[in-house]
Symmetry: C2
Subunit: 346 residues, 2 copies
């Protein structure tokens, strides 16, 4: 009887269902379902008739019903990390954009959730058990980060953006960018410009990512016989720290160029230069890391290592698809190489 009401009203208040399409096309529900999901199974004329009915009614499959039956939501969970005011952390945003775009092509949408709160794992648990998402993309994989371990223990499907630092036994799929290759690129670029005294400003030693990026700088310099001792500083990732560290290095190590672990630190160097009346690029070269918006708009442009986040997103989604297609999928790691965007600062 509901059917009758629905048809009699001009503008159906309720969206058409599979049964409506079936009735209109003169076939069964299953045939319509096949027309949508397995068109190959239908005879050509039947398929055409069903598709016509679908268009006429403006039928769109109900997600909830499909999700319930197939036990899949076609949603990927991504946890928003807390905002860092005062830093030039733009990599994440570009990555999210790329991920959304790439997911769409693969038939997935991105579900954002906030991990802030007492228990960072709470959000993961609820979403997973309530079948709200099919898998997660994890972005912080520092050592001791409970997320990766926890997800693995639960056999929750996830792909990490970032290597499982310090846990070689980890057997989950991951995608990462070779930070050392990036800073090596930056260092080599500065050597090509004639610089020989190239300083490093990076993060504290307990940061695996920071040490990785530092390794690229030190390796290239050592290979060419240029000094590294006394040329490096390890500080927190703030503009203020970068400013302090560069001031000390300028006074004590006489560098002509800086390679930094982040654009934030590089901005600190620019502060010091401005305060001392030195011109970035002309007097002292500065290279940052992440190619953030800050690097793009600051005067005279900050040369920076750019992570191929579009490719990362593509690789992440591909891994995700493999993972969801074959539950026993043994994850592989993929390391991508960044590029150097050269601007006025060096």
């Amino acid at each position: 009887m509901e059917r009758i009401t629905r048809i009699s009203s001009r503008v159906p208040a309720v969206a058409p269902t599979l049964a409506d399409v079936a009735e209109r096309a003169g076939v069964s529900r299953q045939t319509v379902s096949n027309a949508v999901n397995n068109p190959d199974l239908l005879r050509t004329d039947t398929l055409a008739r069903v598709q016509e009915a679908i268009v006429e009614l403006g039928y769109v499959p109900n997600r909830a019903a499909r999700n319930l039956r197939t036990r899949a939501s076609h949603l990927i969970g991504l946890r928003m990390s807390p905002v860092q005011e005062g830093t030039a952390n733009a990599a994440m945003d570009r990555f999210v954009h790329s991920l959304v775009w790439t997911s769409r092509e693969a038939g997935y949408h991105v579900l954002l959730f906030s991990g802030e709160g007492p228990d960072p794992l709470e959000g993961y648990d609820d979403l997973l058990r309530s079948t709200a998402v099919d898998a997660f993309v994890v972005t912080d994989t520092y050592l001791g980060n409970p997320q990766a371990t926890w997800l693995r223990d639960r056999r929750a499907p996830f792909v990490a953006f970032g290597r499982p630092w310090g846990d070689e036994a980890a057997k989950h799929p991951w995608v990462d960018v070779d930070g050392a290759a990036g800073t090596a690129l930056a260092t080599q670029h500065l050597l090509d410009q004639g610089h020989t005294r190239i300083a490093w400003i990076g993060w504290r030693k307990d940061s695996f990512i920071g040490e990785d990026r530092r390794a690229g700088w030190s390796r290239v310099l050592r290979e060419r016989g240029h000094p590294t001792t006394g040329m490096a500083s390890r500080v927190e990732d703030t503009v203020w720290s970068g400013r302090e560290a560069s001031g000390v290095l300028l006074d004590e190590a006489d560098p002509t160029a800086f390679v930094c672990a982040s654009d934030t630190l590089a901005m600190g160097v620019l502060h010091t230069l401005a305060e001392r009346g030195l011109h970035p690029g002309r007097d002292i070269a500065v290279v940052g890391f992440d190619d953030s918006q800050v690097a793009q708009v600051v005067h005279p442009g900050l040369t920076s290592v750019r992570q191929p986040l579009e490719e990362v997103a593509i690789a992440v989604v591909r891994s995700l698809e493999d993972l969801l297609a074959t539950p026993s999928y043994v994850g592989a790691g993929l390391l991508l190489t960044p590029t150097l965007t050269v601007r006025g600062s060096g």
Copy 2:
């Protein structure tokens, strides 16, 4: 019989269902459902018994099933606008963060989707008709933007961040920030510092937001009897345009301060100053708009109008709740006032 297999296995491969909890607690399914959704309906001891069973089994309601029955997904759709490389557009990210956080408290999650492609409305349509999302948050409400009109025609629930510019008849809920109040604040601040020749660099005349922000600057200056003619420039929102415009204004109008419609334009002014050996804040004052990360990390800090995006998100979610609770909800508009973050540039 499935029940038996499930219980006999140590680690259930399938998540426990409402029926499992009911059996364990010795009540009916509906009672468990009530315990979850309407605890008030249960007698205290029954409630306790059910809750105990829920905890023991680790029961979490299946979203797909709930969504199917209730015809709601508890998801809010947010379209990712295309990335703008080379601009300091950080407002959006802060807003997304705030929205995710606020939504969580209201029991919603944020579904990101990409609107890029031939038809910008396609994403909206599919998500809505497939009942993937309950409502949308729309962020671009410039005149002629088809989204708002289209959504209203479809009676799709949505709340806009941004006024329905040029369409006073629009009757949907919206939240916006008073741009004129922000630039008035900035201009007043510069007057307090002793500046009287204050220039404006904004967007082209067809931008309602740009004209709104410009109005704050011109109103304050006129009230105090200071010049505005020849002191304004309307350009595209790029660093390069800001640099060009500020160069011309410095040559022709002799301003001592700039108020800009965006941080991007303000960065352009900083370029000009750097090229001319002028010091921002000391020689020429510069104020931007949005308090982006760029404003926070650039030397010597860019004074900027800061939108209360956390409050915007809260208001948006509140409207969304009202809207979904009462379908006939007639939207109201809410205009919030920004603040000024003062830094070294002025």
